[in-house]
């Protein structure tokens, strides 16, 4: 049975309305200030640290993002911590908010499909996050120029721009998750708590748990342990398990992109390193190749979560 008309009729209208709602909301303003202040603090620490080190570094500009100075973590760690929070903050009441305001049935009785409403909400959320992150990125580059005084090279700009894109994708994963729970739970508070709980679990508990579960799947080999080496099978299993978490995928991608000397994101044998000049930077295309599977993994995760939400929403009754 085919439906008449396009599923995306009215999509642009929904996106514009949601975008203006997001950009004028108090919630968004609080989140933006939080991100800007935190980023400035991290940046300040990084610049102090960079000024003290005199060693020559061909990628000094990228150190802005990755260098930390006690007690502040690096800019990248701040971002990987705050971006999920922003995305969850924008998405947790997207659909159940419409139910609770009792606007859903009125909007859906206009000549549009549910597809347009859901897709519009996701796109508007992603655009809001992209706008904030691009602003933040420009701010960091500008401040870096002013405070370090060395202009970044083309490759550094390229690498940091890819970092920006990957961060937006990472935000999309959490936005899709928040949207999914805003469909599943009628109460916005429940949706927010469950999403935050999953975020805490995935970001802080899962990496620890992955190691323990890996040892159950592939027990440690005493011969390796005796030599003080990790068991290859166990290390492999731990990596596979840890990569189920988008936080791990994001961290690995960022390392590959912002640290040009990264040659592999998993365990490798010494024999594989034969002939390699350790510490020599890889060209950008090689780093992209290393980060590519992780990036695709994040995109796939976002699409999967969105599709689950989409199917659930299509099957839901519109009456409150």
């Amino acid at each position: 049975m085919r439906r008449e008309g396009s599923a995306f009729q009215g999509l642009g209208v929904v996106v514009l309305k949601e975008l203006s709602d997001h950009l004028t909301s108090v919630r968004m303003r609080v989140l933006e200030w939080l991100v800007v202040l935190v980023a400035l603090a991290a940046l300040y620490g990084a610049i102090q640290q960079i000024k003290e080190t005199t060693a020559e570094d061909p990628f000094l500009f990228l150190r802005l993002f990755t260098t930390s100075r006690d007690p502040l973590p690096s800019f990248v760690s701040f971002i990987s911590f705050l971006v999920p929070l922003m995305a969850i903050g924008l998405g947790f009441d997207a659909v159940n908010g419409e139910y609770n305001r009792r606007t859903l049935s009125r909007i859906l009785s206009q000549p549009i499909y549910r597809d347009a409403l859901l897709f519009g909400k996701f796109l508007a959320g992603l655009m809001t996050l992209a706008i904030s992150l691009i602003t933040l990125w420009l701010l960091v580059i500008g401040l870096g120029l002013l405070l370090i005084g060395i202009p970044p090279g083309a490759e550094e700009i390229g690498r940091s721009f890819l970092f920006l894109l990957v961060t937006i994708i990472y935000a999309g994963v959490w936005l899709a998750l928040a949207l999914l729970f805003s469909i599943v739970f009628r109460s916005a508070a429940t949706a927010a708590l469950v999403t935050l709980g999953i975020w805490l679990f995935i970001t802080f508990i899962w990496p620890v748990l992955a190691g323990a579960v890996a040892q159950i799947i592939a027990p440690l080999d005493p011969r390796y342990t005796a030599l003080g080496l990790p068991t290859p099978a166990t290390a492999q299993a731990e990596h596979i398990l840890a990569r189920l978490s988008p936080a791990t995928l994001f961290a690995e991608t960022v390392v590959a992109l912002l640290d040009p000397t990264t040659r592999s994101l998993g365990p490798i044998y010494l024999s594989q390193l034969q002939g390699a000049v350790l510490g020599a930077p890889l060209p950008l295309s090689e780093s992209m190749l290393i980060a590519w599977p992780q990036t695709v993994g994040m995109i796939a995760g976002a699409i999967l979560l969105f599709v689950i939400g989409y199917v659930t929403f299509q099957r839901q009754e519109v009456r409150a």
Partner: protein, 324 residues
């Protein structure tokens, strides 16, 4: 499809798992008619409305709205039908006009057309001066009127109103019913649902009484009254004149006369005997102070119908539980 009917439903059914919310109902709504779906909460009224709009799947039966099938051509149906949901909601942080603008854009009206339609519609429902106010400050009655303004703005051929008067004070109800009558005068068909029988009795041309997902009774209020209340008209007269009661008994069709007070008489007849009664009073040189026929009340019809059929009332109750 009959040209004069805007909605035709035949054997319409909605099942949730094993529970039947709407059970093979059939009805038609004519052009420019005000049709009432009446019945207790959970009787299947809202589900029926959602099926007409294509907002919920149809489990069985056929339905046609303005010649379109809501399941296959929902956009065509929704472009021509206005819907006011039960306790309608708006975006509280936006103004009344901005809320309407969003809807107008979703419908796809062009910019110039949009502003004119919005201004006209808000004016019609008496909200023109509040156009720039945030909807968060609106009372319930104003929200309902804003919902009707949206239907006017849309230029809908059918207005579907779910419980439009529930929770409103008598003044707001009267205003709302006046706007609904205005729809009729413009040739817009109205389908409204309510559990408040007497409030809507005055505006409906025809009603369908729901119970347990079925239509128990359908027709004009007067017809239903005759059908259920055992027929007959009750005419009240207040007049003086000796022997009036005896004279009135002789009018053909009158089955009984009772005295209800000093100079007050009540006639039971099988037709409207007001003209003959007036003639009798005047012929006796009596002074006629009051002459009126009692309209059958929907409440009485409803109560009597379910008293007479306890099994029907039983189904109504279990049906309500299923739907809840």
């Amino acid at each position: 499809m009959n040209e004069d009917n805007v909605i035709e439903a035949a054997g319409l059914t909605k099942r949730y798992g094993n529970a039947v919310a709407v059970d093979h109902i059939s009805f038609t709504v004519g052009r420019g008619e005000i049709f009432g779906l009446l019945g207790p909460n959970g009787a299947g009224k809202t589900t029926t409305i959602l099926m007409l709009l294509g907002l919920t799947d149809i489990s069985g039966g056929a339905v046609s709205v303005l010649g379109f099938n809501p399941a296959r051509e929902p956009l065509s149906v929704k472009r021509r039908v206005g819907y006011l949901p039960d306790t309608v909601g708006f975006y509280d942080q936006l103004s009344a006009a901005d809320n309407m603008r969003y809807t107008a854009r979703l419908i796809g009206f062009k910019k110039q057309d949009r502003e004119k339609r919005i201004a006209d519609a808000l004016d019609r429902v008496g909200l023109a001066e509040f156009a720039g106010n945030r909807v968060g400050t609106f009372s319930r009655g104003m929200r309902q009127r804003l919902g009707l303004a949206e239907i006017l703005m849309k230029g809908a051929q059918i207005a579907i109103l779910d419980e439009p008067t529930s929770g409103l004070d008598p003044h707001a109800t009267a205003e709302l019913l006046a706007i609904i009558r205005g729809f009729k005068s413009e040739g817009v068909s109205v389908l409204l649902s309510s559990h408040l029988l007497e409030r809507v009795q005055s505006v409906c041309d025809r009603v369908a009484l729901f119970s347990g997902g079925r239509i128990a009774l359908m027709g004009s209020v007067a017809d239903l009254g005759r059908q259920v209340l055992g027929g007959g008209y009750v005419v009240d007269i207040e007049a003086d004149g000796a022997g009036l009661a005896e004279r009135l008994t002789l009018i053909p069709g009158v089955s009984g006369v009772e005295r209800t007070g000093i100079g007050k008489l009540r006639l039971h007849a099988d037709r409207d005997v007001r003209p003959e009664a007036a003639v009798e009073v005047v012929a006796m040189q009596g002074r006629l102070k009051y002459l009126g026929v009692q309209e059958p009340s929907l409440d009485a019809i409803y109560t009597r119908y379910f008293e007479a059929r306890p099994d029907a009332a039983m189904t109504a109750k279990t049906g309500a539980r299923h739907a809840a």
